[in-house]
């Protein structure tokens, strides 16, 4: 038998997957609806070339989740953008080897 493949190729794939499953468990969306939305995003992304099923797959997944969270007002785009920037700043300001935390 060949070597087992990693289940998640990148840590953020796993985080994103878990976040989605957790939100579903909390009843934020139902799974058939998620599947439909995700399928639609994949079809859109495919227009710019074949998807390889790795990063590009989870990029489509992320775009779908962001859309869902915007539509139900749980994470408006402006908050996501500024929180993203805050994390970037935190990474840049944290000495190598130290845990990265958001500043106040």
């Amino acid at each position: 038998m060949s070597r087992p493949e990693p289940i998640f190729e990148a840590p953020w794939h796993a985080q994103l997957f878990a976040l989605t499953v957790h939100l579903h468990e909390r009843g934020v969306f139902d799974w058939p609806q998620w599947t439909k939305d995700f399928g639609a995003t994949l079809a859109e992304h495919r227009l710019s070339g074949d998807l390889n099923g790795g990063d590009d797959y989870f990029n489509a997944w992320l775009a779908t989740l962001e859309k869902v969270l915007v539509s139900n007002d749980m994470a408006p785009p402006a908050s996501v953008a500024s929180m993203r920037d805050a994390w970037e700043q935190a990474y840049l300001a944290t000495p190598h080897g130290k845990p990265v935390r958001l500043g106040d």
């Binding site: 953020w12 399928g39 994949l42 099923g53 797959y57 990029n59 994470a75 840049l92 990265v100």
Partner: protein, 223 residues
């Protein structure tokens, strides 16, 4: 193309997300890729609003990494091979039996078991996205999610199967099952010769993930 040969082509998305690679006399932590920052942002916002519990996320990852995977499906297949009553139940109405085994849950609510025979080879795809029986097989491999597999296995299944090393003779039918948000399929591969008298645990070791998708066969005992 060959599906086993890894499909790590750089996309514009992940190129843009590459961590910076300038000279390194500066001391800060490496910036994670762009989508990772966006995922963290979502997590932080939802945690601050009390909408998610970060500990639950770790638990979900742990479960999918270590507890849920093709070993579950392999157990089911081994029992189908060994126990005619179980086999009949699984082919007729699998859900009560799967619930009893606790191989049940998200993406596995409505399973259909399709059995390979000397006359028919079954193979599973999801042309819509990547629906897959998580409770039985875990998280799908990259190739299952690729456009190449999803579009081609419907159009030219024999050719795709041959690329996986499965040569289906001309007089054997190939049936392609397209998963949906509601219905998921599990292929029961043919029981290999030379396995008479083996117990379920030994049999389960012969059942690979790919053999339960249909892109592989069960291993022979000497392999």
């Amino acid at each position: 193309m060959h599906f086993r040969a890894g499909q790590t082509r750089a996309t514009s998305a992940n190129l843009a997300a590459m961590p910076h690679d300038h000279d390194h006399d500066h001391p800060h932590t490496l910036l994670p890729p762009e989508p990772a920052l966006r995922v963290r942002a979502l997590e932080t916002i939802l945690t601050e609003k009390g909408l998610i519990d970060p500990a639950a996320l770790d638990e979900i990852i742990e479960t999918y990494q270590h507890k849920i995977g093709p070993q579950n499906g392999a157990k089911v297949v081994a029992r189908i091979w060994s126990d005619p009553t179980f086999r009949k139940g699984m082919l007729d109405e699998p859900m009560p039996l799967l619930e009893e085994l606790e191989f049940y849950g998200r993406q596995g609510e409505h399973m259909v078991i399709v059995e390979n025979t000397p006359e028919v080879h079954n193979v599973v795809v999801c042309t819509l996205c990547s629906c897959y029986p998580w409770p039985l097989l875990g998280i799908p491999p990259g190739w299952y999610k690729s456009d190449a597999y999803r579009s081609r296995v419907v159009r030219e299944p024999r050719k795709v199967l041959a690329e996986f090393g499965v040569d289906v003779p001309d007089d054997k039918k190939v049936r392609v099952w397209d998963s949906t948000a509601e219905v998921r399929y599990l292929v029961v591969p043919e029981r290999p010769e030379g396995t008479e008298g083996m117990d379920e645990d030994a049999l389960a070791a012969l059942v690979t993930r790919d053999s339960m998708i249909g892109t592989g066969l069960a291993l022979r005992p000497e392999a």
